[in-house]
């Protein structure tokens, strides 16, 4: 299991490639990757920047718990999860969930489950800075799936 927080921009594809170097890929027929980027719009308004607050300690524990529970449900998966914290600009990657498994269904289902649970359970809070300079807390995530 690998769970990481980054306070600087990270490249999700580099993380996937680096992780694959250490994996027995000959047995892992499927890899599902979700990479979430910051948009420059939300709820019909232009967003110029984002601040991602987190709860140091609990955020890491929650991500590890979510991944561990997915690994218990789908025992043969391998996971890589990364999330930004702090100041983020549009087009930068906010979240990476990558799951490898022997067959596509486990990789796809586990990736989706980890992402949805992360969005509802891991302690992160988004604060947006809008084009007019005002700031607002994001009250809820967009409906999933």
């Amino acid at each position: 299991m690998a769970v990481r927080l980054f306070d600087q921009p990270f490249d999700p594809w580099t993380l996937v490639r680096e992780r694959e170097r250490g994996l027995p890929l000959e047995g892992l027929g499927a890899c599902t990757v979700f990479a979430g980027r910051m948009r420059d719009f939300n709820e019909d308004q232009d967003v110029r920047a984002l601040f991602l607050e987190h709860y140091p300690g609990m955020t890491e524990r929650e991500l590890e718990r979510i991944v561990a529970e997915a690994e218990a449900r789908w025992p043969a998966i391998t996971c890589e999860v990364a999330h930004r914290v702090g100041a983020v600009e549009p087009s930068e990657t906010l979240v990476l969930v990558a799951v490898w498994s022997a067959h596509r269904v486990d990789a796809r289902d586990a990736c989706s489950e980890i992402l949805e649970r992360l969005k509802h359970e891991a302690p992160f809070w988004k604060r947006e800075r809008l084009a007019d300079g005002s700031e607002r807390w994001v009250e809820k995530n967009t409906p999933g799936h």
């Binding site: 991602l52 607050e53 609990m58 979240v95 302690p123 809070w125 988004k126 009250e139 995530n141």
Partner: protein, 76 residues
Amino acid sequence: MTITVQYFARLREDIGRDRDEVTMTGEVRTVGDLWRHLHGAPPARLMAAVNQAHARLDTPVADGDEVAFFPPVTGG
């Protein structure tokens, strides 16, 4: 002995500070008791954690616990 209470995000801004130190009294037995002791009626959609694990308003609290209150999470 005391309980450390932390606040995050909009809740921290609304309350105006990021933490409280609370001396335990016999009336504070749960997370919900703790909120009512400090702030009155709990707001809708209040989330909480005890020792960095998700908790509910009826989760018990004990001396030395780290309790956190926060609004719904919006990561990912």
